[in-house]
Amino acid sequence: MLHIVDDEEVLRDSLLWLAKSRGIPATVYDGGKAFLAALDGIGRAAAGQCALLDVRMPDAGGIAVFDQMAARGLTQVVPVIFLTGHGDVPMAVDTLKRGAFDFFEKPFNDNKLMDRVQEALAASERAAAGAAVRTRLAALSTREREVLDLILKGKMNKVIADELGISMRTVEVHRAHIFDKMNVKTAVELARLLK
């Protein structure tokens, strides 16, 4: 989902239309405040997200919005692309260093912008997936983490039981729990997930 944040109605509309022409789902916000209000919901949404922020807006400028997102740790999940007028380039470069995805100076090449938007959506999906795996890993117990590490090294249950000084049976129980918690069926699947 592409979030277009601009105070100019014409620009919002033209960008929305452009996104639609590339098959990118998009929503529009008429200012930074409106976008910030919707931000929590956006952060929890599963699909790829991206925000197009105009640097200059009357209520809350793009930079301020970006700072808010950074504070909530959302800049990975919702990559930000800035749209700048003339003379805002140094400011935009500064935001790049702080984790913004990209910036475009007006007037911009529209299709290149849309290409970067798609890349940002993909990056968002990856970031969201990574975040999910980290959540599942966090659910494992200490012993389960030890067993997981040895499984990922490709060791058999017996070897794992020997190394940890526990019974085979216990290793199997742990293994079943790990697969269950990580939502996988096989060790190969598990390895791919944690690659």
Binding site: S14, S21, G85, G87, P107, D110, M114
Partner: protein, 686 residues
């Protein structure tokens, strides 16, 4: 006024030591003079006193002799009478007659009596005859002695029965050795002095007759009492009687300063001494004043030498009589090269000579203004120095004006700072203008960015859609229509923005009126002169009065004139002074197949225009000046062309450049009164 203060001898010890011996001789002479002044009167007094004493002695001697001679003569007369009595020749009345005659001739004799041997009276000159008994005792004693000694004798002075002190002269008469009587002549003691001493002597001296015991017998003091200064005593030896004749001058001791001459001499001497003292004091004062003056001169010399202000004194003929070191430094000439010179001065800049002459004649006429005036001097190395001169009259001790003193301030630094300030100000204004232009451009760009960006997005989207739908075989007409409508609207909006800028710039409509070139030139002449004065350029105009008027925007054409004249003046900065002339001429040019044009030419005699510069002369943002914006000529040309004329330039055959612009003459020149808005900005200066 001296050319320069004379070298001042250091106020040192030699001049202080001098008086010690210099005063010795006058002091010695003064002492000698005083000594002789004291000694001379004393000496003279002694001399005079001796002379007087001698005179008194001589006079006294003479008086004494006179008395004695008189007495002797009387003695002889009486002896003769006695002889005749003895001879019996004289008797009775004849005797008396004889005696009376004697008394009559000799007043000093008081009376004469003749006595016989028994002392009876024979004859007497007195009415009341005195008897022998009635004679005083000393008289009788003298008579006894005379009879005994057979010689006439004088008696001691003594008062007789009648009262006064008498001295009797007894002449004993003997006949054949027998005493027959005597003749007694009585002298009044007083009449000896009163009748026998001459009056002139008595006038000057107190004369006293005393006996040998200094008992006073009689004193004559008709001239006053004696002073006991000059005295003399003579012994008057008479037969049987010795008396002392004492003379005592009534004159006192000679006064120390007796004569007027001496008085005058002393007075004069005192005066001399006083004037000596006065002179001495005056010299002291003078020396003190000299020292003070010397210190003052030193002080002033130091002051003058330390001044950075140049000082120049001139006499009434304009001859320089003095310059201080600061002035010499300022013009780079030695004081000797300037002092004594009459105009033209070596430090006059050739281009400003007229101004100097005018100023100089003003100064000589005395119409000089106390507040300073600015001009330029030429340094010895040819550099020009802007200076500020203040003149004030130079007055001598008697209040007569002897010349003029001028203080000259080198204001190059001030001028430089002023120029710098002005340049900075201009630069600041220029950058401010640029900043404003930048601001406008920025705003414009931002305003145009929005619709352009929208248009770009719509069209890209539309193309995307068309490409995709072509694959699928159908195009969403509704979507495309929306996009294209939006594109149209945004394009309209961009056009609106451009139009609004036009309207904004267009607001200042040119005001055209019929004016003559002469009016236009007149109205800017003050400013042109101001520019020209700075570089000592003279401006000459040659505009015929009969020129037809032109229809023009006054402000624009004035700006064009200002711009072109300024360029001309600045082009002559480095030209020799004689060539710094800017000419503004005008005339009518009529081509056969074109309306008549009024042509204005601005002719300078400056450095000219090189072909490379000429190529880009009217291009905007091209300038040969360090601080120029390069808009002046470009705007000038636009302004003139807008009026329907042309702006051209060419090289002046005499050197320099001619800028020429033409404007259509009014009578038959149809003129477009609207002006393209992008040319309406006022003419700036290059």
């Amino acid at each position: 006024m001296k050319p320069s203060p004379p070298p001042i001898p250091s106020p040192g010890t030699p001049s202080r030591k001098q008086p010690a011996w210099r005063w010795l001789l006058p002091l010695f002479l003064a002492l000698l003079f005083v000594t002789s002044l004291i000694w001379l009167p004393l000496h003279e007094k002694r001399q005079e006193s001796m002379e007087r004493q001698e005179q008194l002695v001589a006079d006294s001697l003479w008086v004494e002799q006179t008395i004695r001679f008189q007495l002797q003569r009387n003695e002889e007369s009486l002896s003769l009478i006695g002889t005749e009595i003895v001879a019996g020749y004289l008797k009775g009345p004849r005797l008396v007659g004889r005696m009376e005659r004697l008394i009559r001739d000799n007043h000093e004799i008081h009376r004469i009596i003749a006595l016989d041997a028994d002392g009876r009276l024979l004859a007497s000159t007195d009415e009341t005859p005195i008897s022998y008994r009635e004679l005083s005792a000393p008289s009788r004693h003298a008579a006894e002695r005379a009879r005994m000694l057979h010689t006439p004798l004088y008696s001691e002075p003594a008062p007789d029965v009648t009262g006064p002190v008498m001295i009797d002269f007894h002449v004993p008469l003997f006949s054949h050795g027998k005493y027959i009587g005597c003749i007694v002549a009585s002298y009044l003691a007083s009449s000896i002095l009163n009748d026998m001493v001459p009056w002139w002597f008595a006038q000057d001296n107190e004369i006293a007759l005393t006996d040998m015991n200094d008992t006073l017998i009689y004193k004559r003091a008709s001239g006053g009492a004696g002073r006991d200064v000059y005295t003399h005593t003579r012994v008057l030896n008479l037969a049987g009687l010795s008396l002392k004749l004492k003379t005592n001058s009534v004159k006192g001791a000679p006064r120390l300063l007796p004569s007027l001459l001496v008085d005058i001499v002393i007075l004069l001497s005192l005066g001399l001494l006083w004037s000596l003292v006065a002179l001495w004091r005056d010299i002291n004062r003078r020396q003190a004043a000299e020292t003070a003056l010397r210190e003052q001169i030193n002080f002033r010399a130091a002051m003058e030498n330390s001044l950075v202000t140049g000082l120049r004194a001139r006499d009434l003929d304009g001859r320089v009589t003095y310059v201080n070191p600061a002035f010499s430094r300022m013009v780079g000439l030695e004081a000797e090269d300037i002092v004594g010179r009459v105009p033209p001065m070596p430090y006059w800049a050739p281009e400003a000579v007229d101004e100097y002459q005018k100023r100089f004649s003003q100064v000589l006429a005395g119409t000089v203004t106390p507040q300073g005036f600015e001009t330029i001097f030429q340094h010895a190395d040819g550099r020009r120095i802007p200076v500020l001169i203040y003149e004030s009259p130079l007055v001598d001790g008697s209040g007569r004006q002897t010349g003029w003193m001028g203080s000259i301030l080198d204001i190059s630094e001030r001028r430089r700072i002023e120029d710098l300030n002005r340049q900075q100000q201009e630069k600041l204004q220029a950058s401010a203008r640029l900043a404003t232009m930048g601001e406008i451009a920025s705003t414009l760009a931002h305003e145009l960015n929005q619709p352009l960006a929208a248009i770009s997005s719509y069209t890209t989207g539309a193309l995307n859609m068309l490409a995709r739908r072509q694959d699928e075989g159908a195009v969403d007409a509704v979507s495309l229509t929306h996009a294209l409508q939006q594109v149209n609207a945004q394009a309209q909006r961009a056009g609106q923005i451009i139009r609004s800028v036009h309207t904004f710039v267009k607001k200042r409509e040119p005001a055209r009126e019929a004016v003559t070139v002469a009016e236009l030139v007149d109205s800017v002449m003050t400013l042109v002169e101001l520019q020209a004065q700075k570089y000592f350029v003279s401006v000459r105009t040659g505009i015929p009065a009969a020129l037809p008027p032109v229809l023009a925007d006054r402000t624009l054409i004035e700006q064009v004139l200002l711009n072109l004249t300024r360029n001309g003046v600045e082009a002559m900065q480095a030209a020799p002074p004689g060539r710094r002339v800017l000419r503004i001429t005008a005339g009518v040019e009529a081509m056969p197949d074109a309306p008549p044009m009024v042509v204005v030419s601005i002719v300078d005699q400056g450095h000219g225009i090189t072909p490379e510069v000429a190529e880009r002369l009217y291009s905007p943002f091209f300038s040969t000046k360090a601080d120029g914006m390069g808009l002046g000529l470009s705007i000038c040309r636009t302004a003139i062309e807008f009026h329907g004329g042309t702006l051209t330039h060419g090289a002046d055959p005499q050197g320099g450049t001619i800028f020429r612009f033409s404007l259509p003459a009014l009578q038959n020149a149809p003129i477009d009164t609207t002006m393209p808005s992008d040319e309406a900005s006022p003419v700036g200066s290059a």
